[in-house]
Subunit: 415 residues, 2 copies
């Protein structure tokens, strides 16, 4: 077992070789990984069974077991994901701009690899491959630390990926899995200054909080989502109902599912019964403010202050009647997590005000919050969804995994 | 005295009002600040005298006293700086791109204010105004914490700036000075999650290290600079000497001054005596590797391992003969701080390899490292020079103080 410092040294030593690979070499590596994973499906499934058996012994809940479980189909999907990353344009080397200064210096801004990227994630074996593939295509070495419940699966996948790279003559230390899954190794990883250029936590609120609190390396905070749908006074109410149902129910477990409904008082009497009816087939529990309770009565439950800040990730939603768009925006900016927010409106002024003033990574007019996703935005695969304001905001594709440098061409200029 | 949490709440409450200001309002505020500072020059000088007297009592060295000292001319320069920031283009609202997706969604990426920006800096009263002006133009509220030795000056400047904004009907809580200058308040500021969107330390290595180690809010690390000039085998040696002298001596106290000279062995015998002669008028002390010593003899001092990592900020430079450009690049990537690096060469291949492989914010071919500076790059005033890879790298002008958000216009799209 390589300890964390051995891995950190290996990744740091590999980063310049990875950064120098041209697009063809990187794509060949990604296809080799896909081929190798497919060819070793049985081996991966055997390793995965060890994790599942241990999970059942430790009484993991069925949701976690499901996320942990690989099948031949899922492995094929993971391999196909590598090929999709290979098909994405290479972000490295793009010159974002170049200008000639009055003194003749040509100053250009070039997209370059990040260096070494750390990812801390939960017990999802697919992330081991997805994250490695994205980092590799972005020209960076990676250090992956997955949840211990998926250790055997991740170890097998990581070994196969490293072997696939080595077989192509590519640097296998581009991909590194932390094999020590103790809390100490996670804490040590968060303080790998001088080795890690960025650390990205991917998982639930607790994991992200731990990384933000403890890391001394630069972090990109990815997202929990307390997302709102605001139905404006001028909304097309049928559209609002369709968007609400989609945002709440299309997939309840994701960070861009709606968790709260705000309704302008002028349309509350008309819309709230429509909303209740539209959400009924999915048995959504409504947590309503007093005015919502007046309209919908005892068929719903009263909202507490806590409800407005909750990410249910379940068939539940908080509901509040507001007096104005100003109140809606203030409420959202108070309770949201900076993820995805939606207004349904036919008013030009309301659409302008909402998109200007709501503070979030993605602000929607007349569309479901469920579109905040790398593929839907046209970026291809994503490493996560940033809810911070630095570096990257919203879905993070390959470009978010890169850095920049200024390259300056002169002919002897001095100051 | 407002305590830190009072200030944090005030800044957070002000940020949406600041974000909404149009360019004309922001520029009017900046000119009002300039006018107010000029009109109160005597008051500022009186406050400054308190700091200087205290500094002398506490035996501050003359360099620090000089940085602390304001004069009528310096105040006029600070006011002029505000007007220059007013003259810069407003970065806010720019749509970086907008694309229509196959489903008709129009997804655009818009530049938006950061929110609340924290700056921790040393005893330089001018930074109080420079930083406030840049943050204000970038549409963000700021929380400033300067060195305690400049407290009276900074307090006076901050009060005047706040008054100037209030007199124009602009939110005075856009600008906030931390009046508690204890170490505890600095540590507390580094952990203002939920209030500070970014914290930028501006000052020496110790300050920056303390912020990187202790902050739980997102940080942009600004730079110490161990910058190299590499004279390639193919270099125009006269040009190399001019660049070396400029990079080392034009201003020794700045982060983009050269601290190390690397010379290809093929030109070492020819160039090293030229370099020594060129640096002689400034009495630069050369710390040479054994091969440099062989050529220049006892007229210079031997370099220790420590010398290669030192940011002298003085008339001193380390000198090393290398066997190849590969060795030069490896040496630079080992010892540099990711700031500014220069190759002097007439070789196409060498220029490509150096700019591709050197890992730094600014990589120069045939030009002095002294150009890494917001004004020289055409950005106008800068808040600092980032040496990290996340968010901003190199000189940070107004754009580096902004964030982005996706704004999505639909007509009822659901997934």
């Amino acid at each position: 077992m390589r300890d964390l410092m051995t891995i950190a040294e290996a990744a740091k030593a590999a980063k310049s070789a990875v950064a120098k690979l041209d697009t063809n070499a990187k794509n060949a590596g990604l296809h080799a990984i896909a081929d190798t994973l497919l060819a070793h499906t049985d081996e991966i499934l055997s390793a995965n069974r060890l994790d599942i058996e241990a999970g059942r012994e430790n009484a993991l809940n069925e949701g976690l077991i499901d996320r942990l479980t690989l099948t031949a189909d899922r492995i094929a999907g993971i391999a196909e994901g590598c090929r999709q990353v290979a098909a994405l344009p290479d972000p490295i080397g793009e010159v974002l701009w170049q200008r000639t200064r009055p003194n003749g210096l040509r100053i250009g801004l070039r997209r370059v690899p990040m260096g070494v990227i750390g990812i801390i994630y939960e017990a999802r074996p697919n992330v081991t491959v997805d994250a490695a593939a994205l980092c590799f295509k972005a020209g960076s070495a990676c250090i992956l630390r997955g949840g211990k419940e998926a250790f055997h699966s991740s170890k097998c996948l990581s070994d196969l990926m490293r072997q696939a790279l080595a077989d192509c003559g590519l640097p296998q230390d581009a991909i590194n899995l932390v094999e020590d899954t103790t809390r100490e190794s996670a804490n040590q990883m968060m303080k790998l200054n001088g080795y890690l250029d960025v650390l990205i936590p991917r998982g639930g609120a607790g994991l992200i909080r731990a990384v933000v609190q403890n890391a001394t390396v630069p972090v990109i905070e990815t997202g929990t989502g307390n997302c709102h749908v605001y139905v404006d006074a001028s909304a097309d109410l049928d559209m609002a109902a369709r968007i609400l149902v989609n945002a709440k129910c299309q997939r309840i477990s994701v960070c861009n599912a709606a968790e709260s409904l705000l309704v302008h008082r002028d349309v509350a009497e008309a819309f709230l019964p429509m909303a209740q009816k539209a959400l009924a087939p999915d048995h959504v529990i409504l947590h309503g403010c007093p005015r919502t309770m007046e309209i919908l009565g005892d068929s719903i439950v009263p909202a507490t202050e806590d409800d407005y800040g909750r990410e249910y990730l379940a068939y539940e939603i908080s509901v509040k009647v507001v007096d104005s768009i100003d109140e809606a925006i203030a409420h959202i900016n108070r309770y949201n997590t900076g993820h995805s927010e939606c207004i349904v409106t036919e008013s030009y002024a309301a659409s302008q005000q909402f998109t200007d003033e709501v503070d979030a990574a993605a602000v929607y007019v007349n569309a479901s919050t469920r579109f905040t996703d790398g593929f839907e935005f046209g970026f291809g695969a994503e490493i996560g969804i940033s809810t911070q304001k630095l570096h990257a905001r919203g879905p993070m594709g390959l470009e978010a995994l890169t850095s920049q440098k200024y390259v300056i061409f002169g002919n002897g200029q001095v100051r």
